[in-house]
């Protein structure tokens, strides 16, 4: 096998290094960057846009175009995560934790260039690793059965220990709540409905990650900054430049290498996708840093770790895609379909790929690496300029951010309910933030809810099948060497995590105040958990697979809440358990109230219900800029026109619709009003 590898690698480079191929690659990269900057769209939207052109296209050109686009989405979505605190995709959620605080400290350019340098490096490490590894990957992939996948999911979940915050019980309850919210909808196994009904089809499908990510991270930050009426960077100044970020990355190059390898390895395992990688990398960054007090407040290592892993993960994700024809992510699924359309359809993604098309396989791997290089250089060049956004008075940015996140949320399911869900999750996010309940823990819980449930049920079923055959066969299946190693890593990571959690304050040093408000919030959460438990218990016993996880997790989270309740009753006012951002600090001193600020967002959604998104947006932008920002008519109209124009341009290019309202139901209007 290795004998054929070198010539194939040579052929691959000969294919790649043609000017026309590189031209297509750059074109793909530019398109990918444009799509990736838009939060919530990601590679799927971009690839769908390219599909019609793939039919019969020269394979290497088509591959260059598509890979250029896919490769840079996890690079460019960093802009939104760092500058606005909006997780652009699941790949950049952990980046928000330290990247956004850095932007608030006026170090946006530094954070961005550190992130991009890490991305680039991760991509290259990933490609080098794959070049050798892809030849022997097949048995490795097959060694990861359901127990192994379950253990990796649990390892991801154990990162909650690191991110739980000052009161570990609160972090656990937040993660449990996230897990429970993740079980809403039709169960994978038996199809039972949890906290949903067929009368509300929206809930039966469950909540989408985009919406929960935006609701938990973006909405609370936007609202908080808007209330304070200042720029994102305190004092509207940019401290460090882009060169500092690159230096930061170089100083932490070993962390970057380790996280890149974590990225490739986890990316290789089919069925997990990228959802856990950045959290594992973040946890690893925390555990290997001596001074942990800066995490959550703008520690550059918290940016370097996850960003190194998320581009490397894209390379790892190629293994199940190319070798087994099993897509590691949504964009890879389209990629497989598109490859079949290329040329005369001779390239068949799947087991034959290594035998018949090793040169194409290598071309794909190195096109991906090359696209990373091109994309990163463009991004670093742009980061200094784009970082200036953080010095603008936030009141001028906020309406456009509301516009963007609403559009992104709508794209996830194309229902009006998407906007309502965004608002509801946003409210949860606002209160989690206010009372210092760990939002990362909540999100990890949500992201891993489905894998935890699925792998637990499936592994249990197959294990009991093996145990029925013989005890040895069962033990061999459940406790494979990989599982044992993963258990050891998980235990170490939990022990270390619990010791370290208290020093990591993701929400900053939150002051404590009176008992009432935190207590009410706790009771609301406990109430939801009780309701969800009763609901899960109503599922008939023959569908045990659909009820066991909600019952166990819900019971556990409720127990955490009850202990918290007892503690709250016993401890005096002012104890850390009563952390409340409205007592003192930025939020408490803000000139604008929470509800009046939130009402603007609610107004946009309500108006969309009546007149559709674009008309509502025109009204929203004009009135917001006039009333809240106090802008003159000229400025207002200009900004509104820019916003609407940008929205229509993006949606038009991607062939997307806007949320319709009652008006659109009654009258036929031309696009974009329809």
């Amino acid at each position: 096998m290795f004998a054929t590898a070198l010539p194939a690698l040579g052929e691959a480079w000969a294919l790649i290094l043609q000017p026309v191929v590189l031209g297509y690659l750059v074109l793909g990269v530019v398109m990918g960057l444009a799509v990736g900057v838009f939060p919530g769209l990601g590679g799927i939207a971009g690839l769908s846009l390219l599909l019609p052109f793939m039919f019969g296209m020269d394979p290497i050109l088509g591959l260059a175009l598509m890979i250029g686009m896919v490769a840079v989405v996890p690079t460019s979505d960093t802009f939104a995560s760092v500058l606005m605190g909006i997780p652009g995709s699941s790949a950049s959620q952990a980046t928000v934790l330290d990247g956004f605080p850095m932007a608030k400290n006026g170090q946006a350019a530094r954070a961005l260039s550190a992130a991009f340098a890490s991305s680039l490096f991760g991509g290259l490490v990933g490609a080098s690793f794959l070049t050798v590894f892809i030849l022997v990957a097949r048995p490795v992939v097959l060694a990861f059965g359901l127990p192994e996948m379950l253990m990796i999911t649990i390892l991801g979940l154990s990162m909650v220990a690191v991110l739980a915050g000052r009161i570990p019980l609160k972090g656990l309850a937040a993660a449990g709540l996230g897990l429970m919210i993740g079980t809403i909808g039709e169960a994978d196994a038996g199809g039972s409905l949890r906290m949903a009904s067929y009368d509300i089809p929206y809930l039966a499908d469950g909540l989408k990650l985009v919406i929960v990510g935006l609701g938990i991270f973006a909405v609370p930050e936007i609202v908080s900054l808007l209330r304070q009426d200042r720029s994102i960077a305190k004092g509207a100044s940019l401290g460090a430049g882009w060169l500092d970020g690159v230096k930061d990355w170089f100083a932490n190059i070993w962390l970057s290498i380790r996280c890149s390898i974590i990225g490739v390895v986890v990316g290789i395992i089919p069925g997990l996708g990228g959802s856990v990688v950045d959290w594992i990398a973040y946890g690893h960054s925390v555990q290997t840093t001596k001074d942990k007090t800066k995490f959550g407040k703008g520690e550059v290592r918290g940016v370097i770790g996850p960003e190194s892993s998320n581009n490397a993960k894209e390379g790892g994700g190629l293994v199940p895609t190319l070798l087994f024809g099993i897509p590691g992510s949504g964009s890879m699924a389209i990629f497989i379909g598109a490859v079949a359309l290329l040329g005369s359809g001779d390239i068949e993604v799947g087991p034959g790929m290594l035998k018949d098309n090793l040169d194409i396989t290598y071309s794909i791997v190195w096109l991906l690496a090359l696209a990373n290089v091109v994309g990163t250089i463009i991004c670093i060049a742009a980061s200094g300029g784009i970082a200036k956004l953080t010095t603008i008075r936030f009141t001028y940015l906020a309406p456009f951010l509301f516009m963007l996140i609403s559009f992104a949320a709508f794209q996830s399911g194309q229902n009006f309910e998407d906007l309502l869900a965004l608002f509801a999750i946003g409210l949860i996010g606002i209160f989690l933030r206010r009372f210092d309940w760990s939002r990362p823990a909540f999100l990890i819980g949500f992201v891993l809810s489905n894998p935890v449930e699925k792998f637990t049920n499936q592994a249990f079923q197959i294990a009991s099948f093996r145990f029925r055959k013989s005890f040895e066969e069962g033990m061999e299946y459940v406790f494979s060497p990989i599982v044992i190693v993963l258990i050891i890593i998980t235990v170490i990571s939990v022990v270390l995590g619990i010791r370290q959690a208290k020093t990591i304050m993701a929400e900053g040093d939150v002051q404590s105040g009176a008992k009432r408000a935190p207590l009410v919030f706790l009771l609301v959460i406990a109430g939801y958990l009780i309701f969800a438990l009763i609901n899960a218990n109503m599922i008939p016993d023959y569908n045990m697979t659909d009820k066991i996880i909600p019952l166990v997790i819900g019971g556990f989270s409720l127990a955490c809440c009850v202990i918290l309740l007892v503690q709250m009753m016993r401890r005096p006012e002012g104890d850390t358990i009563f952390a409340d951002k409205e007592v003192a600090g930025e939020d408490a001193d803000a000139p604008f109230g929470l509800w009046s600020t939130l009402a603007w967002f609610a107004g946009l959604i309500a108006a969309t219900w009546f007149v559709g998104f674009i008309l509502a947006l025109i009204g929203f932008l004009i009135s917001f800029l006039r009333v809240r920002a106090g802008a003159g008519w000229g400025k207002t109209l200009l900004l509104t026109a820019c916003g609407i124009g940008f929205m229509c341009l993006m949606a038009g290019a991607l062939n997307r619709d806007f949320p319709p309202g009652l008006l659109q139901g009654a009258v036929d209007l031309p696009w974009p009003l329809k």
Binding site: D346, R468, N655
Partner: protein, 362 residues
């Protein structure tokens, strides 16, 4: 009313198929228009692949060479998109809808989310696939053309859900007296094959293209043994050997050879009904209710032209797998066979689903 309408459409389709309706479509011109082909699934599924393959070919073949774009409207197991399409009336030919077995099965099983009626729509193209079941090497050695020696073995199978296309293999194995335990919750047949390759599952099935791409390599390596195909339908609606796999026996043959399995009676009728709805007529393209006849004729002609392309067999087998394609009247007839399932067959399947898997669609 609906029966009358579908008969009328069938007749019209047949006329179009015979080439008699050619003059009618002279008025239809889609120059400069954009046609939306709505798929009630996400961008990543098999239906997306199917529509993306046909869209550019259809655009070339329609009068005026319009642009055909594929739009995705996923949700509620494809019933959301189908319910939406049901509300679209009096089409001007710029809206096309694609349904799949996953849209047909909830309709047949009386899923409460279904608010659509297939007989209202105008089928202009239908295409189908086949399926192959296979065993691991150890159990495959016991297979002798009948399942007699497999009835004492415990099987485990990675399944997407009992109400999906997996209903067909699960019911077939049950009729053969085999004890197959499904592990539910996998996301696609590729995941099922991976579970089989890892040795966690010891029985699997793939659609024709999935089998050719992924599983034949396993068979050649001696890791898998083909058991049976679901077969194909001949002109009389009888099940015959799948032309793609002429060497593999059909379920019908295996059933006949196996003690206790009968190729008549309510179990067989139920299996056959759902097999037809899920495989030979798996994917259909529709124009909305109330579409004028000349537009239907134009689409019929366009799809016929697509299928008549010299290179069609070659490009379609490479890009979407080997499908048998019906157009015009053939599509309408195919729709009839796919959606007219006798009440007894439905009752049998509903009852079996609730007894074996606790699945109730209420």
């Amino acid at each position: 009313m609906t029966v009358l309408k579908s008969t009328r459409n069938a007749v019209l389709g047949l006329i179009a198929a015979a080439g008699l309706a050619m003059p009618a479509q002279a008025d239809v011109d889609f120059s400069g228009k954009t046609i939306e082909w709505v798929i009630p699934f996400s961008e990543t599924g098999g239906s997306a692949k199917w529509a993306n393959f046909f869209a550019p070919l259809l655009g070339e073949a329609l009068p005026g060479q319009p642009t055909v774009v594929v739009k995705f409207m996923p949700g509620a197991g494809s019933t959301k998109g189908a319910n939406w399409f049901q509300k679209q009336k009096d089409g001007d030919g710029t809206l096309l809808f694609g349904s799949s077995g996953s849209t047909q099965f909830p309709y047949l099983l009386g899923d409460p989310r279904v608010r659509y009626e297939y007989n209202d729509w105008n089928a202009v193209m239908a295409s189908g696939t086949g399926g192959v079941a296979y065993l691991n090497a150890e159990d495959g050695a016991k297979f002798d053309g009948s399942a007699n020696a497999l009835q004492d073995t415990d099987f485990i199978y990675g399944s997407q859900g009992a109400t999906r296309l997996d209903l067909v293999p699960l019911l077939a194995w049950k009729m053969l007296g085999m004890n197959v335990e499904p592990v539910f919750g996998i996301k696609g047949r590729g995941d099922g094959r991976l579970m089989f390759e890892r040795g966690e599952a010891n029985i699997d099935y793939q659609t024709s293209s999935g089998y050719l791409k992924g599983s034949t390599a396993l068979v050649d390596a001696g890791k898998a043994v083909p058991m049976m195909t679901w077969g194909a339908l001949d002109e009389n609606g009888e099940i015959v050997r799948d032309p793609t796999f002429p060497d593999i026996a059909t379920f019908k043959e295996v059933c006949e050879a196996t003690e206790g399995c009968e190729t008549s009676g309510e179990a067989w009728d139920a299996w056959k009904a759902f097999f037809v709805a899920g495989f030979p007529v798996q994917k259909l393209a529709f124009l909305p209710a109330g579409t004028p006849d000349d537009i239907i004729a134009a689409y019929t002609k366009a799809f016929q032209d697509v299928v008549a392309r010299d290179d069609f067999a070659e490009i379609s087998s490479k890009r979407v797998g080997k499908y048998s394609v019906f157009t015009g009247g053939g599509a309408q007839t195919a729709l009839g066979t796919a959606t007219n399932v006798p009440a007894e067959a439905k009752a049998y399947v509903t009852n079996w689903l609730s007894e074996a898997y606790g699945v109730t669609l209420k």
